[in-house]
Amino acid sequence: MDFELTQSQKLFQQMIRDFAEKEVKPIAAEVDEKEEFPKENVKKLAKLGVLGIPTPKEYGGAGGDHVMYTIAVEELSRVCATTGVIVSAHTSLCEDAILDNGTEEQKQKYLPKLASGEWIGAFGLTEPNAGTDASAQQTTAVEDGDDYILNGTKIFITNAGEADVYVIAAMTDKSKGNKGITTFIVEASTKGFSIGKKEHKMGIRGSATCELIFENCRVPKTNMLGPLGGGFAVAMKTLDGGRIGIAAQALGIAQGAMDETVKYCKERKQFGRSLAQFQNTQFQLADLQTKIEASRYLVRAAAWKKDQGLPFSTDAAMAKLFAAETAMEMTTKAVQFHGGYGYTREYPVERMMRDAKITEIYEGTSEVQRMVIAGKLFKK
């Protein structure tokens, strides 16, 4: 049993924290305000290898692990949740999906470009009528010679429009329900594929969230990811991994809000004392930091289990559920501690509060996480 980060994980944390402070934090408010995808910073992260952390060296990745990857998402989200989710969706939902399910040819073709950040990745499962009930897929894929022809729409897709490669779930055989879903790798340049409307969101406003439209979009059979009819399993497994990333994002947001609150409470004086000197402040923040630390252990344990090849699905669900609800609680309290200033855009805590909300919703709502956890409880 070892709760310490390894030496390389620590060195990595030093680097990514430095990067977050110097490159990401200064533009976080602007990225939010202008709803602007932080292209330049994504390029810089790519150059450093942050877009391919757990991908093995043989596929052009950094050869790191998922614990490192959660550190990256945490530290970036601590100052800018938008940047955190871009890395998370790219790595967990696209790169890992191909690494875990792809053929050798698919890995050779896509991973080096994704790991180097030359290509950005995304993942499409959600549809207007298939949210929490992902099995109700209406996008279809019909076999035609050496290809499948995709028709339908996906919504709320993170990195859409910025991405070059999409992992897409589609119904290949409606009669089989879940077992009739198959996943495909779709390149953005494919004919019949287009980006629909862009969402205007409450939080993570710099991240691109759009609709994907498939109109007779022809995808070669060689781009089928996983077996025919195995798409639901691929998607669920991919989301398990994704939840670790989102849990790390929530953790980062919570810690960032805590950092801001501690700083503010030391400076702000009312009734002749700093806020930090009031026991009410101390006790509330002590409780919250305990929850943040508990989130951190859950996140890292889930990532560690994934790295060890152990089952981690419930761990990921617990990590995401707890970290997301902690982020929401922490950021709401952070605004409260900041009082009127907290409600203005002069301080970053209102942005953090808006950003935190999505972590309770995407890649499985908190209710879905409870379903996963309860499912495991009552299975025996």
Binding site: S8, M15, V50, A62, G64
Partner: protein
């Protein structure tokens, strides 16, 4: 081209605090970092490596924990790392430090030696030029830009108080670099993963080409007689005076603080 970069592990002095009761430095919890100017120097070396091909060796003198800055150097792209660590080096002032480093360099091959301008814990800016003298090398300090020309010649830009100088230097030479001239790259994730699998060579004093009497406390002409913190801030005083008197108060305070 063989480039040697000398780096130092320093406490991050921007977060050093004074214990208000004991009036001493609180070193606990102060992170150790690679000295910023040295990091700029390493950046210059790595840029030269990318442009004209070079083997970059980093060298530091310090306790065993200084290993960490060498790992960081690996993660930035250095090829080889040497840690000079020995009790004989303890208590060294700048002259003794420069003797130790020069003693190590004498057993290495190099075409260019790079140091930071100065370390943030001492701010002396002396070790680089002192080494250059020991090694009989030409030096340029305060370098903010450096281009390698053919035939072992460098064109460097040196920052001065009121502008800059362009100098042409025949190598081998020693440059001391400003962090402001070379914004250091971040560590690369792939190299971070490998950094702890590489070898950091540990060199004791016996491996150096130097008279042992010139090392450590024995080889240090300067001695610190007294270290003290500046007087702690007394509670501020607020004056309600007419403008004429107020100005006199301000001026006397400025004089007290040697600001004028």
């Amino acid at each position: 081209m063989n480039i040697i970069v000398c780096v130092k592990q320093v406490p991050d002095t921007t977060v050093v605090k004074i214990d208000p009761v004991k009036n001493t430095l609180i070193r606990e919890g102060v992170p150790s970092i690679m000295n910023p100017d040295d990091k700029g120097g390493l950046e210059l070396a790595l840029q030269l490596k990318e442009k004209c091909g070079a083997n970059v060796t980093v060298i530091t003198m310090g306790p065993p924990q200084a290993d960490l800055v060498l790992r960081e150097a690996f993660a930035m792209g250095a090829d080889r790392a040497i840690l000079l660590t020995d009790r004989a080096f303890a208590g060294a002032d700048t002259l003794a430090t420069s003797n130790a480093l020069a003693g190590a360099l004498k057993v290495l091959d190099y075409d260019l030696v790079i140091t930071g301008r100065q370390a943030i814990d001492g701010d002396t800016a002396q070790v680089g030029p002192e080494m250059a003298q020991h090694l009989g090398l030409p030096q340029v300090s305060y370098v903010v830009d450096c281009q390698y020309n053919d035939a072992n010649k460098f064109t460097v830009k040196k920052e001065t108080e009121d502008g800059y100088e362009i100098l042409e230097v025949e190598g081998p030479a020693l440059f001391t670099v400003l962090a402001s001239g070379y914004k250091a790259r971040y560590m690369n994730v792939g190299l971070i993963v490998e950094a702890f699998n590489k070898e950091v060579e540990i060199w004791p004093a016996s491996k150096l080409d130097i008279d042992p009497n010139k090392l450590g406390l024995k080889g240090s002409p300067t001695k610190v007689k007294k270290a003290f913190t500046k007087a702690t801030k007394a509670a501020g005083q607020v004056y309600e005076l007419d403008p004429e008197q107020a100005v006199d108060v301000i001026i006397s305070k400025l004089q007290e603080k040697f600001i004028i």
